[in-house]
């Protein structure tokens, strides 16, 4: 682990008397390696290391009997702050319905997350309504209708051949009639470099005018995470990120990259395939996971 590596470095350095700047740089190299191994974006790592370098050259570290622990403390503290110090909740409309739009790359977990989110809101006393706006992936609508039924949440049944905009309009009317207070819209997976699909998402967002536009992103995403988050955020103005598949062993460095580069808060994490696998995001847990 990083703590053990830093301990080892400092033990070797201790015999040479007072710690120097060069000694601290040796430990910062280990921090850099740990973060890269955790899939934190290269540039984000550079920024992070220069931030903690200043703090690591302080007297608390240089004079400490346990400098490794001090550095870990600084790293951990900085990570937690960058990941989003305070809790980020969903936005709720004072006048229903609240509208939540889910977007993201192919296979990231949007459809499953839509149903999980609906169940969470339902258990919280709200009355969510699911909108399947993915008409391109084979059996995508059936998938959402199936998980909606499992969650015990009503969903719109789209007319074959309709566009996402048409589906949304009809669904909104239907939801209104059934007294639902929250609309959760699932969209097709799309590449951030697919102009046509990004335009489609952008116009859908303009039409829906969501209270939350959430990027559903896979926890195992690598260096590309920054490019993806930036592209989605610049085209569709995100209000939050949902990081999925955290029940695996991916370190999840993408969380730090996405959050620190776009400033968009991580609101939830997906922790399993079942519909109860959605939890609020905890920066401190994510920090220790990233550090390994």
């Amino acid at each position: 682990s990083l703590a053990e590596k830093l301990d080892g470095i400092f033990k070797r350095l201790k015999n040479r008397g007072r710690l120097t700047e060069k000694d601290i740089d040796a430990t910062l190299r280990e921090v850099k390696l740990a973060l890269l191994e955790a899939d934190v974006n290269f540039k984000a790592v550079k920024d992070f290391v220069s931030r903690i370098r200043v703090k690591s050259l302080g007297e608390e570290v240089l004079q400490s009997l346990t400098p490794a622990q001090q550095v870990i403390k600084i790293v951990n503290g900085e990570l937690i702050q960058l990941l989003g110090g305070s809790r980020a909740d969903l936005n709720r409309s004072p006048v229903p319905p609240t509208r939540i739009l889910l977007v993201g790359l192919q296979g990231s977990g949007k459809t499953t997350t839509a149903a999980k989110l609906a169940l969470l809101l339902k258990d919280n006393g709200q009355s969510p309504f699911l909108v399947p706006a993915d008409m391109s992936r084979p059996a995508a609508v059936k998938q959402l209708l199936t998980v909606a039924a499992k969650a015990g949440v009503p969903a719109h049944s789209p007319t074959p051949g309709s566009s996402p905009a048409e589906i949304y309009r009809k669904a909104a009317l239907e939801a209104g009639r059934s007294g639902s207070d929250t609309l959760i819209i699932d969209t097709a997976g799309r590449l951030h470099v697919d102009e046509e699909l990004m335009d489609e998402a952008s116009s859908l967002a303009a039409m829906v005018n969501p209270h939350d536009t959430l990027l559903v992103a896979d926890a195992m995403t690598g260096q590309d995470a920054v490019r993806v988050a930036e592209a989605f955020h610049s085209r569709i103005s995100l209000t939050g990120i949902i990081m999925t598949k955290l029940d695996g062993d991916a370190r999840g460095g993408a969380a730090l990259s996405m959050r620190s580069v776009t400033g968009v808060p991580i609101k939830f994490v997906g922790t399993g395939e079942a519909l109860d696998g959605l939890e609020p995001f905890h920066p401190d847990r994510m920090a220790s996971r990233i550090l390994g």
Binding site: Q106, Q143, M220, D224, V228, G248
Partner: protein, 291 residues
């Protein structure tokens, strides 16, 4: 670096940065840069083009270490020395990987490729778990002109595979592509289920599964290496397919995967349609990686 080498410290850092950003990982980035250094170290002044050429060659060789395609997949692509399997009964290809990487879609694409060669193909709906997984595969069977078999409601995946392969044998199917549910490699009961599916397959068709294809997502970072290691260890993988290379991710993780595990990389997915699958080309991959 040797005298006359046209590569300064800044350029070296830029190169390291490019490889890291391509998900090659620190370990293999260092190896590649060191190898480049040795090549450039000879007493000569290299041009930028020379350096690019050397680097591309190093990367192409590194990623091709596991060889390319073998067995039926090699036969499909008409690779030299691919041998012939036709008329030898049903070839069974098991497709595995973690959730959402593109297994089901890739099966559709592979089926299409086999069908274009005039082979009889059957798609087995081994994902009995995820919502609408069977319906999704059925659509790919229709699109590719393949036979399709699914189990009854709530059937056990191993029994679905058992029945599908029995049908394939009696129906003189050339290739049976078996879809499985996405599963995180960290979930032992799910990995055991996969082992059970393989055992059942071997009882129906001799030597089955003849191929175990691990489908990896190009957007995945270092965890792809862990996935490859684990799947290889627990069920044995014979080929890798890397999907979603039509995005901006460069798939650099294939280098440590090839280097450490010696796995052949057979195809690359470049989109969501039937034709969006190309045989893996180390040279093209290397050129795209260094951009």
């Amino acid at each position: 670096f040797g005298q006359g080498a046209q590569i300064g410290r800044d350029q070296l850092e830029e190169l390291e940065e490019a490889l890291i950003q391509a998900d090659v990982g620190m370990d293999y980035t260092v190896r590649i840069v060191e190898e480049l250094g040795q090549v450039l170290g000879r007493q000569r002044a290299w041009t930028q083009e020379d350096i690019r050429g050397f680097l591309t060659a190093i990367i192409a060789r590194a990623v091709g270490v596991g060889g390319r395609r073998r067995g039926m997949l090699s036969l499909l692509e008409g690779d030299a020395g691919g041998g012939s399997r036709q008329g030898k009964g049903t070839e069974v290809v098991l497709v595995v990987g973690v959730n959402g990487t593109g297994k089901t879609t890739t099966i559709g694409k592979l089926a299409h490729r086999f069908r274009k060669r005039g082979l009889r193909v059957l798609l087995a709906a081994g994902d009995t778990y995820r919502a609408a997984a069977e319906e999704q595969l059925e659509i790919w069977a229709e699109r590719s002109g393949s036979l399709y078999h699914r189990g009854s409601e709530g059937a056990d995946p191993a029994s679905v595979v058992h029945d599908a392969l029995s049908i394939a044998l009696s129906g003189s199917v050339d290739v049976a592509l078996v879809d499985t549910a996405g599963r995180l490699h960290t979930k032992e009961p799910l990995m055991r289920e996969l082992a059970k599916i393989m055992k059942v397959a071997s009882r129906v068709v001799e030597g089955a599964p003849h191929e175990v294809v691990l489908v990896l997502d190009a957007t995945t970072g270092q965890n792809a290496l862990v996935q490859a290691r684990t799947f290889l260890e627990t069920v044995g993988v014979t080929a890798v397919i890397l999907t979603k290379m039509d995005g901006t991710a460069k798939g650099g993780i294939l280098i440590p995967i090839a280097g450490e595990l010696g796995l052949p990389i057979s195809y690359v997915g470049l989109g969501e349609g039937l034709d969006d699958l190309v045989p893996f080309d180390p040279q093209a991959y290397a050129e795209a990686l260094i951009g």
